[in-house]
């Protein structure tokens, strides 16, 4: 679990005493015609050596944009307008596009969701792994091929399958190959953008077990971007819940998942189908996320929040830290005890309602409760 286990040296300007990655007040906006989409609007977090951080939220909350901003793999109409991304204390936001190339793959690599789209269909697997090794690390062809074989074995693909083309592999195998590629240059941070989303549960379990295993073997630091809270519960140490471009809540997985403080976190968890919970007690989050061209003033979740107070619609809630957790909600103002508030006001829209009433003695044609 140490950086020392990595094969390559740190960048010249690195400050060895600095945390691995510190993101401060990151703002990434998209221009859409004459309008601006505030996709990521002031995100801060820290990733320590060997840690796994999950970033969760629904479609359009800015989680992927946050990840892509770290190494600026953004579409052309997006730009980082404010904030900093410090890797070993080196600010990547101010680096030129060319200087940043030094950091992609070698320091930070990404595993994308659709492995079929991310792999080149006309190249053999091994060649795709060899390429970054010769290009980025300047390895000889022979060395690189040997290393590629090792990497394939590491992720559970038999070495002899290296000659296969992507279409000859199953979805799970392709995802393993993507992970091998991401590990090729022995990066400090691997970002997984929905790495298991399109996979079957059993294959997902295999891939998550593999990631867990690699993390411990290689001392990797992970950032996992997903809408799937269960994947984060499974693999991460800490979780950052995003809503409409901002942090709603951040903290250790244990604390946030077992004692969610932010009403959005509570709702999100309650809306997630859970095989260990009672049947048909899924929660609904009424309404939909705000239009990020014109985000509401105050708390962005206020229009959908069962606890919303007047202040919520006017003042942006500050991020307040309580022990292991940071939460941005007026229910937990600075100086408060930070004890979890859970009971929704009785008349609140979106108070927890079971999906249907528990089945009476005479199933199955009962009227649903809602």
């Amino acid at each position: 679990m140490t950086v020392a286990s990595r094969r390559q040296s740190l960048p010249k300007l690195a400050d060895p005493s600095a945390p691995l990655l510190v993101v401060e007040d990151l703002k990434t906006h998209f221009s859409l015609g004459a309008e601006t989409v505030h996709a990521v609007d002031g995100i801060s977090f820290t990733l320590n050596h060997g840690e796994a951080l999950g970033i969760a939220g629904e479609s359009g909350c800015g989680k992927t944009t946050t990840a892509l901003s770290l190494i600026r793999l953004l579409p052309s109409n997006a730009s980082i307008v404010d904030g900093s991304v410090r890797l070993y204390g080196i600010d990547l936001v101010t680096k030129s596009a060319n200087a940043l190339r030094r950091y992609r793959w070698r320091e930070v690599s990404i595993v994308f969701q659709g492995a079929m789209n991310a792999l080149n269909p006309v190249h053999r697997l091994r060649d795709q792994i060899v390429e970054p090794l010769t290009e980025r690390l300047g390895m000889s062809e022979k060395e690189a091929r040997k290393r590629a074989g090792e990497l394939l074995e590491l992720v559970g693909i038999p070495k002899k399958r290296g000659g296969a083309y992507p279409h000859e592999l199953s979805g799970g195998m392709r995802q393993r190959a993507m992970i091998a590629m991401a590990l090729a240059c022995d990066p400090a941070i691997v970002i997984g953008d929905e790495p298991t989303t399109a996979l079957d549960v059993m294959i997902q379990a295999q891939i998550l077990a593999l990631l867990e295993d690699l993390r411990h073997k290689l001392g990797l630091s992970l950032i996992l971007i997903t809408h799937d809270l269960s994947v984060i519960a499974e693999t991460c140490d800490r979780v950052l819940i995003m809503y409409a471009g901002r942090v709603a809540e951040e903290g250790t997985v244990d604390e946030v998942f077992r004692r969610p403080r932010h009403p959005y976190t509570q709702k999100l968890l309650a809306a997630f189908p859970n095989i260990r919970a009672d049947r048909r007690t899924l929660d609904v989050i009424p309404g939909s996320p705000p239009d990020l061209r014109h985000p509401p003033p105050g708390c962005r979740f206020a229009p959908r929040c069962p606890f919303a107070m007047e202040v919520c619609t006017e003042v942006v809630p500050p991020e307040v830290t309580f022990g292991q957790v940071r939460v941005a909600c007026h229910l937990y103002p600075p100086g408060s005890d930070g004890v979890q508030v859970t009971t929704a006001p009785p008349n609140a829209i979106g108070a927890t309602v079971p999906l249907v009433e528990p089945p009476p003695a005479e199933p199955p044609l009962e009227v649903a409760g809602g």
Partner: protein, 386 residues
Amino acid sequence: MSANPMPNGDATPSADPALRADPAPGTDPAPGGDPAPSGDEILRLEGLEVHFPVRGGLLDAILKRPRGVVRAVDGIDLTLRRGEVLGLVGESGSGKTTTGRVVVKLTRQTAGRMSLDGKDVSDLWGSRALRDYRRRVQLIFQDPYETLNPKHTIREFVMEPLLVNGIGTPAERESRVVDALEAAGLRPARDFAGRYPHELSGGQRQRVVIAGALVMGPQVIVADEPVSMLDVSIRTELLRLMLDLRAERDLTYLFITHDLSLAWVIADRIAVMYLGKIMEIGPAEQVIRAPHNPYTQALVSVSPTPEPPTMGERAKRTILVGETPDAANVPVGCRFNPRCPYVFDRCRVEEPPLFDVGGGQSAACWLAEGGRELPVLPPRPGTVPA
């Protein structure tokens, strides 16, 4: 059927499928007291098989090698009871989608019978009767982005089946479209009817797809991964809509999904498929809480939940090694045997039928013979690489 040895001591598969897929009423002490299946069942599949020929190469033809078959669905018996939600769960390659396609008659079965309301519909093809059948059995697809034609308005999409089937006068058609849109929660319907798909959110699009199924006034809806593309917060509303519609319109659902947790939330009964066969079927509560088939047990153990697992829970997981085999090379004996943690000699030679394990639950596993419980596995030693 000859390709598929079914060791079923007392009856041929097609003679009495009720004994396996669906225990007979007399032996069923389930609470809720279901009436006799004859009055209760709406759709029945018996010994259903879908085998696709494998296209061989030129060399295969020259050498006169036998052509292989992909056994996508390999002999299943399934009864859909009126008013229930039956969750059909399986991983890719399990045959769940093919089964759904047979039910809506988009794919022709290669063997087996099916009946709707007691009437044999196995051989309805290209006839007027098929039109009537499709009116009563509708399909909802997974992806509302692909199902909807971007150049058609919502009205055009929902009205299309009425036009194709020549139903009603223009005024009647319009009123049925409005009714279907409102039933699907798109109110006021007239506001939505003139819009195009890109003007709607993902959840609204899926509602349009549901309206398109409702407009025909179906009795059975086959829903293939209807909410898989949607965010969790939108999912719940759609699941609730589906349950509301079931009550309002006497619908019966075959809910196809890869996600056991989703089936747990919505289904009354769950059937678990693996490589073309039903491995276990029964009331949702029993299948999930007390699985009698090792495959179901493994699926339940790895089904993700939003609760951080404890070390004890992690140790109890059964992460199966490898992947579902190719349906062109179905293992001999129990088709799950190469991956089964409990495998013993008999499993490698003889395929188990579905054994009744009580309470309306049946499992295809030699360990379940006589209603026995599965043994408890020792804790998993670390993670299992493939």
